[in-house]
């Protein structure tokens, strides 16, 4: 067994949330630059210019890209040969989130009770943690601060198998059209197909972090991604919803085996500030 101290976990989580909130990945920056060239609307171009400039300022000055520094989501691959010592795994992660948000001048956006008190926990915890146990002796982290302007536009459909790929593409396109300007377009659309209702949404969220330009390895799913993207961008919604050719930067679909009677489809919407960071211990 390889021992990993909870302090190392805390520090890594903190480092990754700071990085994710200050810096947009290079592949997304590149895609935004391309989008600027492709966009034909003058307002759309000026919006894209502002977004690119914003991301440069945030990275250079180490300030939040967006004031909505989101709920703190983590996807973790925990090697089964790792022994965590000196405290609890979940506590260490939450402590890392708390330190990042308190020391990094990030907004604390978590309320304890969703309906009645809605009292801010002032730490941005609890984090939302998905852990897979995998072979090996390492811990791999992918952190994703997830803003709610876009999260609120997400949708789930428990479709019939007979709805087929056309049904799925239509549901994706309609979800994005209905959202209009609200989720801060140009968006990135994560889609999860199959599994159970809950699993579909989890893989949809994870799909948001896929590298720009990569498609699903299964050609049939890749062509659904391309078709959905084309149809969305033909909607004319455009950057900030003020009209234009670039409404969405990428549609990323992942899938899982599912029940003989069903075809869950989850659409998780992410704004252009698609923040994530990865690290390994």
């Amino acid at each position: 067994m390889r021992q990993i101290n909870t302090n190392q976990i805390k520090d890594k989580v903190k480092e990754l949330f700071l990085k994710a909130n200050y810096q947009i990945d290079q592949d997304i920056m590149q895609r935004l630059e391309e989008a600027l060239k492709e966009e034909t609307s003058p307002i759309g171009k000026s919006v894209l210019n502002m977004i690119i400039e914003n991301n440069r300022i945030a990275s250079k000055e180490e300030i939040a890209i967006c004031q909505d520094t989101g709920l703190s989501v983590l996807f973790i691959e925990l090697g089964q040969e790792v022994q965590i010592v000196d405290g609890g795994f979940i506590e260490a992660i939450n402590q890392g989130v708390k330190e990042a948000y308190q020391e990094g001048y990030l907004r604390k956006s978590v309320v304890d009770d969703p309906v009645f008190e809605r009292k801010n926990t002032k730490t941005n915890t609890p984090a939302i943690i998905y852990t897979d146990i995998v072979p090996g002796d390492k811990i791999k982290f992918m952190v994703m601060p997830k803003g709610f302007g876009s999260e609120n536009m997400s949708a789930l459909a428990m479709m019939k198998p007979a709805d087929g790929p056309e049904g799925i593409v239509n549901f994706i396109v309609e979800t994005v059209k209905k959202a209009g300007p609200n989720p801060c377009p140009p968006t990135i659309i994560g889609v999860g197909v199959g599994g159970t209702a809950d699993q579909a949404m989890v893989i949809a969220k994870k799909a948001i972090a896929r590298r720009m330009g990569e498609h699903n390895k299964n050609d049939k799913y890749a062509s659904m991604e391309k078709e959905a993207l084309k149809k969305i961008n033909n909607s004319g919604i455009g950057p900030a919803g003020l009209g234009g050719r670039i409404t969405t930067l990428a549609v990323n679909i992942d899938y899982l085996p599912t029940h003989i009677a069903g075809m869950p489809v989850a659409v998780n919407v992410c704004c252009h500030a698609a923040r994530h960071a990865e690290g390994i211990l």
Binding site: E53, I63, Y105, G236, G238, A240, G243, C271
Partner: protein, 184 residues
């Protein structure tokens, strides 16, 4: 796009009527912040017939919950939040003299009707351009509901705050008029 218009706050009928949907503007002057929780409290006061903690006559409210300010900065990153959540609260404030709102995203029919009736304007700021927008905020202080943290009502002094007139006092709405032009 046409040239950028420089405007100053507070606003009055005449100034509002000069603004047309599609105008790019740079706003200079005083504005207030407010989002879900602060709006809820303001509306409670209106329902009870009590005085509001801020005088909103001619004022502009920016829908934002800023990030904390780093030392040496007047304000943290401060981009707009989605406006529709404030829709139920906007008409009573417009009836009491609010002249402008800054946010992002769609507004309800009721808000647009109230804007027409009261001669008010809805500005769109670019969502997610929070670090860039914060550069135009020169001074920030909490003026009400400090216990709400980021959701407290702040008073900002802004210089050349970049925005677009998305819905004007006639009800012209860029979210309705622009996308069809780029549809295929």
């Amino acid at each position: 796009m046409t040239q950028v218009k420089k405007i100053t706050t507070p606003l009055d009928d005449k100034r509002v009527m000069e603004l047309k949907a599609g105008d790019s503007v740079l706003i200079t002057g005083d504005i207030f912040t407010g989002r879900d929780a602060a709006h809820k409290r303001l509306i409670e006061l209106i329902k009870q017939g009590k005085e509001l903690p801020i005088d909103i006559q001619g004022q502009v409210i920016y829908y934002v919950g800023p990030a904390p300010a780093k030392p040496g900065y007047p304000c943290g990153s401060a981009g707009p939040t989605t406006s529709y959540r404030m829709d139920p609260y906007a008409p009573p404030l417009l009836d009491r003299g609010l002249k402008g709102m800054i946010g992002k995203g769609l507004r309800s029919k009721e808000v647009i009707e109230s804007m027409k009736k009261n001669k008010a304007v809805y500005f769109g700021a670019v969502g997610g351009a929070a670090a860039l927008i914060a550069r135009s905020i020169k001074n920030s202080e909490v003026v009400a509901y400090e216990d709400l943290g980021a959701e407290a009502i702040h008073h900002y002094y802004v210089e050349d705050f970049p925005a677009i007139v998305v819905i004007d006092y006639l009800g012209n709405d860029l979210y309705k008029t622009e996308p069809p032009k780029y549809k295929k």
